[in-house]
Symmetry: D2
Subunit: 341 residues, 4 copies
Amino acid sequence: MNARLQIGLIGAGRIGKIHAENVATRVRGAQLAAIADVNRAAAEEVANEWNIPNVTDDARALLDDKTIDAVVIASATDTHVPLIEQAAAAGKHIFCEKPISNELAKIDRALDAVKRAGVKLQIGFNRRFDPNFLKAQKLVAEGRIGTPHLLHIISRDPSPPPLEYIRVSGGIFLDMTIHDFDMARYLIGEVSEVYATGDVRIDPAIGTAGDIDLAVTVLRFENGVIGTIDNSRGTSYGYDQRIEVFGSHGALTISNEAPDAAVISDTNGIHASLPYYFFLERYTAAYLEEMRAFVEAVRQDRPSPVTGRDGRVPVVIALAAKKSLDEHRPVRLSEIEMQNA
Amino acid sequence: MNARLQIGLIGAGRIGKIHAENVATRVRGAQLAAIADVNRAAAEEVANEWNIPNVTDDARALLDDKTIDAVVIASATDTHVPLIEQAAAAGKHIFCEKPISNELAKIDRALDAVKRAGVKLQIGFNRRFDPNFLKAQKLVAEGRIGTPHLLHIISRDPSPPPLEYIRVSGGIFLDMTIHDFDMARYLIGEVSEVYATGDVRIDPAIGTAGDIDLAVTVLRFENGVIGTIDNSRGTSYGYDQRIEVFGSHGALTISNEAPDAAVISDTNGIHASLPYYFFLERYTAAYLEEMRAFVEAVRQDRPSPVTGRDGRVPVVIALAAKKSLDEHRPVRLSEIEMQNA
Amino acid sequence: MNARLQIGLIGAGRIGKIHAENVATRVRGAQLAAIADVNRAAAEEVANEWNIPNVTDDARALLDDKTIDAVVIASATDTHVPLIEQAAAAGKHIFCEKPISNELAKIDRALDAVKRAGVKLQIGFNRRFDPNFLKAQKLVAEGRIGTPHLLHIISRDPSPPPLEYIRVSGGIFLDMTIHDFDMARYLIGEVSEVYATGDVRIDPAIGTAGDIDLAVTVLRFENGVIGTIDNSRGTSYGYDQRIEVFGSHGALTISNEAPDAAVISDTNGIHASLPYYFFLERYTAAYLEEMRAFVEAVRQDRPSPVTGRDGRVPVVIALAAKKSLDEHRPVRLSEIEMQNA
Amino acid sequence: MNARLQIGLIGAGRIGKIHAENVATRVRGAQLAAIADVNRAAAEEVANEWNIPNVTDDARALLDDKTIDAVVIASATDTHVPLIEQAAAAGKHIFCEKPISNELAKIDRALDAVKRAGVKLQIGFNRRFDPNFLKAQKLVAEGRIGTPHLLHIISRDPSPPPLEYIRVSGGIFLDMTIHDFDMARYLIGEVSEVYATGDVRIDPAIGTAGDIDLAVTVLRFENGVIGTIDNSRGTSYGYDQRIEVFGSHGALTISNEAPDAAVISDTNGIHASLPYYFFLERYTAAYLEEMRAFVEAVRQDRPSPVTGRDGRVPVVIALAAKKSLDEHRPVRLSEIEMQNA
């Protein structure tokens, strides 16, 4: 494929805008060709920003456009499955934001459609493309720390999302921890069992909305590794995204990154800058690199770096975590699969 | 009390030697007056080192000596309870190495004896006196990070103890994690429930001996905090003793300390020195400070900084952790107490 | 000014390419309208990359183009002064790479031309726009560390430039330290006296070419601050760009930044990643931000953030440093000005 | 020598007390046998602390005591030379605090006396025994960073000494920088030339007393290395004692050490603990280790680790630095030696 990949963006919200800018200006070999959003004004705003003539409030029009090679789906979660099915049927390659869906049956329907159509599907687990975690994965895979024994993921947001979002999000495990479940699989492998505990500590309204804002999840992996994930929906010091892998020959840590390396010493102590405030700042490079990887995979006809299965399994883990929390006991992933069967 | 506290040491092994040197040379207001060890040669070696004339292979003789004000019990674990009972009966103040015993009934017998005699008892949970953890406790107690939400303890040894020791140690939770259970109580408060998982990853012989060498323990505290403890019996990079407390207004971390602050940059990276190799190096100051605190508590007639109850509760937690591991479910501390009742 | 600033690029070499990409894709309010390079193929390559129709091998054509509002001069140093004069005469605003010239008389000619024309001139001292140094400047200016007493700049390249470049570069002070002289002025203020010492330690051929590869320069500032700059033309560990300002109420340090925050602990030590390899990696953001600042200054009619005088004074300091090295004594800047008068 | 080395302490002031405690309690193979101080009460206070029966206000008595093997001279600087002469004549081995004297002629007289008597002389340049600098010296000597090119020493006190002390101290170079000159020689080798600049920035009264409180010294070494030393008599953040050696194959840094490794993240930043407040805290281990080294050198009849010459050369460098400051030019050490000849 010599010509630039013609990409249609579906969904011009916060994440859609990031993909728009990246495709429009920073991804070689791709062209942002069309933008669809049910809110036409939102689509037009992004289109104006990047001089994109093709704007619609109907994703269908975009999917029917023969000049479009691939779509980036960044619309509301409940549109993901039908859009994947339609895009696959139209022969478009698909980049879809996470989660595909919170329901396994729907995910399976979407993945079947993709398989039948033979198009590529990449799920937006962007953290895999963060330079830090990319390097972590490489170092672990190369055996730099020997055989992994332990994994720790610390993943804390600076502040909770709006309550209306929490109410429909499916809960902390499907909304927030799902990124960490993906990271766990990316670094270590397949999970077999989950134990989760949690509480409401930041805002009682989150509890009223049926969710928690503090969670600790213990993972047992098929290869014997034990993992922990700690999540909080509110820190006072910004976004906290750290990882540690401990193995037979060493340990690897990824600490937070800050916007600058300034350190002040004064009579009160030694003071460094806070980490990046939230995911838009911390994962700027990751959003760009995942899109570059998608374009490369399509153009070079290489396997998707984050497959449909990679989109599905973290949902299974999240459902197991929720069940564990509810039933106050460790839950095997096979229990979730059996429920779904 | 103006005269120096006359201290008799029972047990001249590895830890006994540390206490001997500290009392003999670095604890104001105390004098190392006598040394007892069933291995008389061991007792004499230490006595010669510090010019102590009073040496015996019979702890009884030391306990009968009216000039002795207090004893430091650093002999084998199974001698702790009878020695505490005898020392209490003889009116000696008691510093006893951890654990008092692995059996709650025996611990309770010893604590009763202490209570009846009205002597002071301090348990050798030395880590409380490490300058780092001392400061951590102070900062948390002062509310420097607000209300605590999460606690993480990383506690990994550089190498496993001998198998013969593992066989009689009571297992990883009673032998190794017990220090971390004490630290958890010291920093956060009382534990209500434990979930533990673990495996044999370093040496199959440890499994054959009925123990594990890798463990992750999740603690639920009465105040709602969630804690995790990770233990490994073998790192490649020395002793790993870190702590993090996350709260409503901030987070506190204690990282490892190294013997020096040298950093080399070369073509392969930026290289810092390994942390202290093991507890003798890392907790040098802690061993000294706990002994100073004991002597002060006795001389000033102040409460023991690490009471008999502080020696007992971590055993309850350890027994709960073992039960959790065996039964593959979270276990409440009240279950252990009921078994013991 | 509502329309986008039409920018012509003169010089499509290494730095020119960076400016081209930034203007073409990442600077709001600007458009890359034309590219000139005496090597037409080089100009065309860049033009193709960013779809720029207007390409020429004659900068004159670009300067005569009435639709061009501003030029970015990134051609060879000896072309800077005539191009500035011509661009000023043509009423173009000017962004010019450092140094304007190594000769003060020529610089003064160029600055006169700019003054007469009333156009804006910004010199490419990009490091001022590095997020770290930007913050350092702000913190110092705000008095965060009180009255400055000391400045240390560490500025070491990973490897020397080609010998043919060194021969025409004017020497280490005019070529390399000049950035540090600018940084010194940016952070602290005007320099009054310089003492320099140096040697050839890396490559004798650099000495044969009449230059040195190791230098220490001591600056005395008009406000009493004492500064040191250390330069080496070759490290084994990448680009080393650090700063420390010590003042009456504290100290501020900027350490190096690395591409990732991975840290490995193993039996040999604790290993972090090397800093960015060289200026293209370290100063990516700085190159972008300086261009944004230029476009903003022109569009908002605000003063240039790096004036012609800011381009001239570091050359004076560099000439003083060279004289100090040659004459083995401290040299006042006024001596250089008197020579030039 | 099997018996313990009998040590007499002359001078029971601040440093004398440190040596007393170390010899009395922590140096194997040595015994604190006698204490002399012109202020008998001061001598008695220390003697009581460590149960030393032999107390005098006349150092002569101590030197006449045949049972004393070695003396530690920690009395006022102007007593060092006569005491060294008398101690040498009496056949005592000598540990003498720095400086021997601020006058080269007197130093040479003392060194002659030591040479004639064949006793050992160790000068109290304690920083050589700091675990950090000890390791730095070893790493540099082993070639870990290749051939050294640059040395930076940062050496700042938390607060100035009393003015009455400054008036008689000989000035900043003889009083404060002298430790850094020793460190420079220890790490790199012999100095050939010095350039110094400085100012009064903290307290005008220091200027009135004829001294400065801020200094930057540039050293040229015989092996081509260039060094800088920065001194301030007052920081807001404690004692600042850092070193960097840059070489052909890497760089080595020693950063400050803090009493604890606690780090707090909160809404204002990430906060670490201040370094040790001053030399008594920072160099605790160094004071002990230098005394152990002295006792070992005497008992094993090994060369002194810090010779009389090591005590003399830093004075030469300090005199050169003072001359450089006064005459505003680089000064070769040979100029000082010629003045002295």
